[in-house]
Symmetry: C2
Subunit: 712 residues, 2 copies
C-alpha cells in the first residue's frame, strides 16, 4: 500500500499554480483545470474542501486515418496543447419534464470552457465543465475547422483519479449486456472478484478487461462521501465503460468498439457526451440531484406536442412465458421457420402459445376492471419458433400475427373497454431487418391504435461483429425513438444501451430495461439488495421497465419453475416507489392478483408519475425509503425497500400539507416475514395521518413497505 | 516442374471405380463423382476425352457455433460421408430472356444429384451437378433436417484441380473491388506477378492471398482448350474468389468474409450458388454458351409484368465531372457538411457544379435530338461536398436537390421532349443510410417519372468492417433491386458485386459496373486489350455499364486532364457490340459528338438489345468480332475490337437473310490510325451487302471497326 501511494503521487502531481477554478453555485464543489506536463489537459475536483477526483488527464487517442497521408493525422488529442482562451459563465433555469421524479427541475451551474490549440497540428478543441452543487459534467467539443474534419477515435482517455480504495457497486464491463448482478467490493478487489462476477448468473457476454466496470458506478469513500460516475447525452457516440488501474485507483474511460475495434467516427463540429461525477455526503442526493444533473446535461425536449406521451400502467401476456408455462412461439413442428415460406395456418399448434385470443381477452378484462391502461402482448407475431441466437437476419416482419391472434378484433375489444394493447417488437438484435420493417411496423401500430411499443434486442447484433453499446447501435436506438415519435408511439427499449438522460430530449423514450429485470427471478433469482442498488446505478440515466408486482413469489405454485422471487410480497409493492418511472407493469398473472387482491389494491392505486419526490433515507445496497407526490393530485405514496438484512425505518411525514388529513393504507411485512422463508406474510392497516406524524416500519429480510396516502 | 507434377499426382489420385458419371447432351463433357478417402466428395471433369478438371474435393468448413454445445457442431461438411441415393435426369427447355444477347436461350442439361449422409453427425447434404455441352455447374444443397438447422461457414472448399500450368487472365482477389487491370500470366506466375498486379493502377483495396484471384477466371490450356470458372445465382451467399495452390495447380473457393471473418450464415433448407466450369476448344463459346449457362443456372424471372423494363441508351452529366472540368458538389465553402444543418441556399456556389439546370437542359436537348432515351444526372442531390472515404453515415438523403437543380422543371422539360432523366443514388457505401432512405428515394423517382437508377457504392462499407462482396452486401444489392421492382424502377449498380446471372430472375437489374469502366481512361487509362478481356470475364454473369463512346479521346482538348483514351475513336464505336448489354451510355460530351457527328451516327443507330448474336472470331485479350441482330428488327450490327497489336478481320456475312439487301455503313480505323499516336483517324464508307459477302477489315493498334447493316 505504501508503494501504491508513492506511485500515485509520482504519476499525478498537483495541478500547477496556473489552474483555473470554477465552483458550484453553493461553493461546495470545486473544479480546477490546467495544462500539465507536455500540454496535457488535466482537471481535479473537490467537495467541501476534500479532494474527490485527484489530478486526472483528459484526451482522445485517434486512429490512423487510412485515407489521409501520414503525419499529423496520426497525432492524438492527448497532449501538446496550449490554451488560447477560457470563458466562465453561470446558468440558472427551471424546466418542466414531461415525466419523472419531479414536477420541476432546476438546472443551475457554473461553467468553465477552455479553448485549446495543438500547435503542431493546428487542431482546436474545447473542454467544457459544468459544475453543479451535486458534482460536475465535462465534455470535449470539436469546433468546425480545416485541420480536424473527420476523425476516428481509437480510445477516449478521460481519467477519474480516485483518492483511495473506495467501496464500489459495480457490474463487469461488457459491450453487450448490463444484466449481471451488481458486485460490492473495494476498488482493489475488483480484479480478484471479476471472474466470479462474470460467471455469476451467467449473464456476461463480452467483457474486455478484468478491471473493467460499467457506469453508473456508485462508490463510497472511507470518510463517507458518495461518488457516482456516469455520462449524460450519449448521442452519436459509443457507451462509456470505466477501466480501473488498480495500482493508482485511476478509473479511465473505455468506449464500446464497433466490429473493426474502432470506437468513434466523428465529424466536426461535434462533441462527446458529458462525463459526470456526482458527489455528496448524503446518499439520498445520489437518487435525486445526481439524476437531475444527468437530465440537465441533456438538450431540452425536441417534441413540440407531448400530449400523446403519458405515464402508463400495464399488464401483459409475458410472465407466463418467462416462467415457462406458455410459449412465445405457436408451433414446435419445424426445426426452423422461414417467414413467407411456412404456412402457419396449416402448422400444428403447440397448445402453449400465450398470445392467443382468449388469453389476451382475459388480460384486457383484467386491465379494464383494475384501471390498468394497457396490455402488452408478447409472441403475437410470426417468427418466434427460432428467433434467438441463430444469427438469423429475417427473423420477424413485425406485422404478421399468428393465426390465433386476431389483431383487429383484440384491439377493438380492448378499446371498447377503455384499454389499449401495447405493441411488442422483439428484433432479435437483427437491427437492419428491424429498420427495413420499421415503417410498416409503425403504420400497423397507428392503424390498430397502439401508442407504445416494447422493443427487444436479445442476442448477437446483426450487422455481425457489432455490439449492443456501440456508436452505431446507440444511433439505431435513437433512430427508432425518433421514427416512433413521428407516429406518436412511446418506446420501451429492452436490452438497449443504458440510458443517459436522453428521455429529457425525447420523452417518448419512456423507459428501458438495460439491467437485470424481474425476469431473472424466474431464472434463479436476483439478490435481495438488487433493487436498492439499481436506483443508484441503472436509474441515474432514466427509468427502468423493471416489471415489478410479482405477488405470487413462489413460481412453483402455478408452474414447473422452481425459482422464487427474492423479495417479500410487500417488497414487490415497494418497487413501484423505489424503482421510479412513468411506465410500470403489474407483471403477475391476473389469477395471482386475485389471490392477493387486498395487496393488489396498492398496485391499482399507486401513481406512476410524480410532481415531487422526497428521499427519506438511503444507503446503497442497504435500504431506500422515498415519498412521492402523485402528479396532478395531492396524494402521496411512500415506499421502503431493503436488502436481506431487513431494516427498521422511521417515516416522518414532514412533507405533507400542513393541517390536511390523509387516509393512509399501510402495507407491511408481517412480523415473521422473510423473502426466502415466509415471503407472503403481510399486514395491511389503515389509519389517518397528518403532517409531522411518525411511523415505525419494520422491513423483513428482502422486504419493504408501501403506504398510500389519500388526501382527504 | 518435375517436382510439381509428382506432388500433384500424389495428392490427387484418380477416382475410384465406383464413380458415377453424367455426360453433357452432346457427350463432349463428362462429369464423374465419387467419395474418396475418408468419404470425401470428389469430382472430375473431361472434355472430348481430355481431363479438364482433375479429381477435386468438395466440402464446407463450418465455424464452431458459439451457441451450441461442443461436439458434432464443430464437425465440418468435408468428409466422413456415405452416399445414400443418387438421381440422374435430363432437362431441356427454351426460354425468352427480357433482354440480352439472344432472343431465346436453350437450357439443356443432364443432371446428377447425389444425396450424402455424414453418419457421425446425422447430417444430410446433396451435391447437384448439371452438365451442359459447354461445361457444368455444381452446388451444395442442405435439406431441412434436425441435425443441421443453422450453421456458419468458415470456408467453402470447392476445388478445381487444373491439369497444367494454364494461361490465365486474372484480377487480384479482393473483397472490395474488381476495378483492377486484368493480368495475363501462367498460373505459376501469379505469385510473382501479384504484387505488381495489386499496385498497378492502385485499385486494389482488400486482397487476401498472393495467389488469390477473382472470377470469372478465363484460362487457356497449352493444347488450346478454353476454360472459364465462375459462379451462378450468388444469392444470400458471399461472392466466391479462387485461391491457387501453385504447387499442384488446384484452384479452391475462397469466400468473402463479413466483419467477423465468417463467410456464410445458413439456415436449412438452403443451397450454395452454382460453381461453374465452362470448357470449349473454341474461344467464341466462352462469350455465348458460357454466358447462357450462367443464366440457365439462375431461376426464371420473378417479375410478372416486365413491360416497364426496357433497353436504354443514355447520355449524362457525368464525363465532365470524371474528367475534372466540373464537380459533383455545389460549394467548396465548408470543410464538411451535415445534411439538414448546412443551408445550401446561402452557401457560396463553386461555379463548377455540373448538375445545374442549364447544363442538364443542354443534355436533354442533345438526347431528344439524337434519339437517346434518358439523361443521367450525377451530383443533383445535396451531400457531395464530403461524400467519400470519411466513414460518414449520413452522407446523402437521396431526395433533396441542390438549389440549382430544379427537379420538377427538369423532368417536365425532359418529358416534353420525349426524354427521361435517369436517377443517381450514390450511397458512398453507407448502406444502412441508403436503406433508411430507400422508400423516400423510390417514391421520389415515381413522383417525377424516373424509371431507372444508377446506384453507387464507392468507399468503405458502412456497417464498418463489412466488404462489398460479402453475403450481407449481396443481400443488400438484391434487396434494393427487389424494392425498386415494386416501383417499376430499373437498377444499374456500380461498385456492387460482379453479376452471376441474377438478371434472369430480376431483369430490372439491368446492368452493373463491377469492373474497371471507362472512367479509368480519365485516371491514366486502361490497357487497349481491356475490352477484349472483359467479355470473357466480367460479362460472363451479366451486362456492364461500361460507358463507352468517348470519341474525343484526347481529354486535354477540353479539360486540364492529361489522360487519353486507350482506343481509337472507332474502337469506341466497336464497344457497343463487343461489350453487350441493354443499357448503353453515349458517354462523351454533346460538343464532342458535334465534332465527330459522322462517327456519332453509329452510336445513334446502334441497337442495345438483340434477338441473336454471332461471334465471328475471338481470342482472349487479342480480338473479338461479333455480329448482332437488333431485337424487333431485321437490322444487324457488326463490331470488332482488338488489343494493341492490331488485327485483320475477315467478316463473312453468312448470317444475313438470303436474298436480302443490306445498306452497310462501315466505320473503320484509317490506315495510319493507332490508339496512342493517331486515334481519331477514321474512314466511313457505305456499300450494299448481301449474305455471303466478305469484308476485310483492318483494326489499328487499340482499334476496331463497326458496321451497321440496315435491311432494305
Amino acid at each position: 500500500m505504501k508503494i501504491l501511494t508513492s506511485i500515485a503521487a509520482a504519476l499525478l502531481l498537483p495541478l500547477a499554480a496556473l489552474a483555473q477554478t470554477v465552483k458550484s453555485p453553493d461553493g461546495n464543489v470545486s473544479l480546477s483545470f490546467s495544462l500539465t506536463g507536455n500540454g496535457v489537459p488535466t482537471y481535479e475536483m473537490s467537495y467541501k474542501g476534500k479532494p474527490v477526483v485527484k489530478p486526472s488527464h483528459l484526451g482522445l487517442e485517434l486512429a490512423k486515418d487510412r485515407h489521409a497521408s501520414k503525419g499529423i493525422h496520426e497525432t492524438s488529442l492527448m497532449d501538446g496543447f496550449t490554451e488560447t482562451n477560457s470563458k466562465t459563465s453561470t446558468f440558472d433555469e427551471t424546466w418542466t419534464p414531461v415525466w419523472g421524479q419531479f414536477g420541476k427541475i432546476r438546472n443551475h451551474y457554473n461553467e468553465l470552457a477552455v479553448d485549446l490549440l495543438q500547435p503542431q497540428t493546428k487542431r482546436r478543441m474545447t473542454i467544457r465543465f459544468r459544475v453543479y452543487n451535486i458534482g460536475m459534467g465535462l465534455r470535449y467539443e470539436f469546433p468546425q475547422q480545416d485541420a480536424l474534419v473527420y476523425f476516428v477515435i481509437k480510445e477516449e482517455h478521460t481519467q477519474f483519479a480516485m483518492t483511495g480504495d473506495h467501496t464500489a457497486w459495480w457490474l463487469p464491463g461488457d459491450y453487450d449486456t448490463q444484466e449481471q448482478e451488481t458486485q460490492e467490493s473495494k476498488l482493489s478487489e475488483i480484479r480478484t472478484r471479476f471472474h466470479d462476477a462474470v460467471n455469476w448468473g451467467n449473464s456476461s457476454v463480452a467483457v474486455f478487461s478484468p478491471t473493467g466496470v460499467q457506469t453508473a458506478l456508485q462508490m463510497k469513500t472511507q470518510d463517507g462521501l458518495y461518488l457516482n460516475i456516469h455520462e449524460a447525452a450519449c448521442i452519436n457516440y459509443a457507451t462509456m465503460h470505466l477501466n480501473l488501474n488498480d495500482k493508482n485507483m485511476v478509473l479511465e474511460s473505455w468506449l464500446t468498439p464497433d466490429a473493426t475495434g474502432m470506437k468513434g467516427y466523428m465529424q466536426t463540429p461535434c462533441n462527446t457526451p458529458w462525463r459526470t461525477v456526482a458527489v455528496s455526503d448524503d446518499a439520498r442526493d445520489m437518487l435525486s440531484e445526481a439524476n437531475s444533473m444527468i437530465y440537465n446535461l441533456n438538450e431540452p425536449c425536441k417534441i413540440k406536442d407531448t400530449s400523446w406521451i403519458h405515464p402508463t400502467k400495464f399488464a401483459g401476456v409475458w410472465w407466463e412465458m418467462i416462467v415457462g408455462r406458455n410459449s412465445w412461439n405457436y408451433t414446435d413442428e419445424y426445426p426452423s421457420v422461414k417467414l413467407g415460406q411456412v404456412d402457419y395456418s396449416k402448422a400444428k399448434p403447440n397448445g402453449r402459445h400465450g398470445a392467443n385470443n382468449e388469453e389476451v381477452k382475459k388480460y384486457i378484462d383484467f386491465a379494464a376492471k383494475n384501471g390498468i391502461d394497457e396490455v402488452l402482448v408478447e409472441g403475437w407475431n410470426v417468427g418466434w419458433e427460432d428467433w434467438a441466437n441463430h444469427y438469423k437476419d429475417y427473423v420477424f416482419d413485425f406485422t404478421t400475427p399468428y393465426p390465433d391472434f386476431d389483431i383487429k378484433a383484440l384491439n377493438d375489444y380492448a378499446h371498447s373497454k377503455g384499454v389499449k394493447l401495447m405493441m411488442h417488437n422483439e428484433t432479435s438484435s437483427s437491427t437492419l431487418n428491424y429498420e427495413r420493417h420499421l415503417p410498416a411496423a409503425l403504420n400497423l401500430m397507428n392503424e390498430y391504435g397502439y401508442d407504445a411499443v416494447k422493443t427487444g434486442y436479445v442476442g448477437d447484433i446483426i450487422p455481425r461483429g457489432d455490439y449492443h453499446f456501440s456508436q452505431s447501435m446507440n444511433n439505431h436506438y435513437l433512430y427508432v425513438v425518433k421514427e416512433a415519435a413521428k407516429h406518436h408511439i412511446m418506446v420501451d427499449s429492452h436490452e438497449a444501451t443504458r440510458p443517459t438522460g436522453i428521455g429529457r430530449t425525447w420523452p417518448n423514450w419512456i423507459a428501458g430495461e438495460s439491467a437485470r429485470g424481474t425476469e431473472y427471478e424466474a431464472f434463479g433469482g436476483s439478490r435481495p439488495d438488487h433493487t436498492v442498488i439499481l436506483p443508484f446505478t441503472r436509474l441515474q440515466g432514466g427509468p427502468m421497465d423493471y416489471t415489478p408486482g410479482i405477488l405470487e413469489t413462489q413460481l412453483k405454485t402455478w408452474s414447473n419453475n422452481p425459482s422464487y422471487v427474492h423479495t417479500t410480497l410487500v417488497g414487490q409493492l415497494a418497487l413501484y416507489l423505489v424503482m421510479w418511472g412513468p411506465l410500470q407493469m403489474a407483471a403477475d398473472l391476473p389469477e395471482n392478483y386475485a389471490k392477493y387482491d387486498d395487496a393488489f389494491q396498492f398496485i391499482k392505486d399507486v401513481a406512476v408519475d410524480w410532481s415531487d419526490s422526497k428521499y427519506l433515507e438511503a444507503e446503497p445496497a442497504r435500504y431506500i425509503t422515498v415519498a412521492r407526490k402523485a402528479k396532478g393530485s395531492d396524494n402521496w405514496f411512500v415506499g421502503g425497500k431493503c436488502n436481506e438484512a431487513g431494516h427498521k425505518s422511521t417515516v416522518k411525514f414532514d412533507f405533507l400539507d400542513k393541517g390536511r388529513k390523509y387516509e393512509a393504507t399501510i402495507y407491511a411485512d408481517a412480523k415473521n416475514a422473510s423473502y426466502d422463508k415466509n415471503p407472503k406474510a403481510y399486514v395491511i392497516t389503515k389509519r389517518t395521518i397528518h403532517k409531522g406524524d411518525v411511523l415505525q416500519m419494520t422491513e423483513a429480510s428482502g422486504g419493504g413497505f408501501a403506504i398510500s396516502l389519500k388526501a382527504l
